[in-house]
């Protein structure tokens, strides 16, 4: 039995703030982006009075975080498949913490 955390979302945002507080090393590049996404980003740029690079960098960072989380999820699932695949019902019970013994003869 496992549990997951919404609290991690808070920790993630805290880490994100910390990450953003130290200036990251930047590199110039050229990208071809969908026109719709670019117009959307430009609207955000004007509303927040920040550069287009900032908006694209934030969107990219969030997208990459989601990608990494999905990869981690798949890794965990693969590990679980290896950990539990091929166990009989009785063996799975044992791994679930249920210890079954032969019934005592009357």
């Amino acid at each position: 039995m496992s549990f997951d955390a919404h609290r991690d979302a808070k920790m993630y945002h805290m880490e994100k703030r910390e990450r953003h507080s130290t200036p990251a090393k930047k590199r110039r590049t050229t990208l071809s982006l969908p026109a719709g996404s670019l117009s959307h980003a430009a609207r955000i740029t004007r509303a927040r009075k920040v550069s287009l690079s900032t908006v694209i960098a934030e969107a990219l960072s969030d997208g990459l975080q989601r990608h990494l989380a999905a990869e981690r999820g798949e890794q965990i699932l693969r590990a679980y498949k290896t950990a539990f695949a091929g166990l009989s019902d009785v063996e799975m019970s044992l791994v679930d913490g249920v210890i079954l013994e032969p019934k005592a003869r009357k």
């Binding site: 549990f3 997951d4 991690d8 989380a69 699932l77 290896t82 539990f84 679930d96 913490g97 249920v98």
Partner: protein, 148 residues
Amino acid sequence: MTEYLSRHPVHVSAVTVLERVRGYGLLWHRAAEAKRRRLEAMRIAYLSGLGQVWPIDRPTAVVSGEIMAMLPDPPTPPRRSHQLAESRQERLARWRFDAIIAATALVAQMPLIHNAADFESIRSGIERSPERFPRLGPLELVRCTALV
């Protein structure tokens, strides 16, 4: 499940790790040499997929004790199959483990992913006695019949 895991990091109670490792250990001791290697690979795979493991700290111990006092007896009988049965002693031990797992989730304010109806009893018990669990609860439960 994959989608859920991609959105939520999985945390585990130390008690869950204990139960599973004990299970692998018991299987290993009972198995022949050839199967032991496979069981060890399975145990290592399980441990490699663990997220954060939560210890039984002071608040968890306090809340676990409250749950055990509120619900001293397991809500369901020992498990049985065709020729096998769980002893009353083992059933009680498992129930107490479940109380610690529920307390860990409650203290950490995390939803509890579970595959046993027993946790429903703990959830409703906490709802009936909020004065014993100040600033805690409700216990949020997510039923999951199979992990994979």
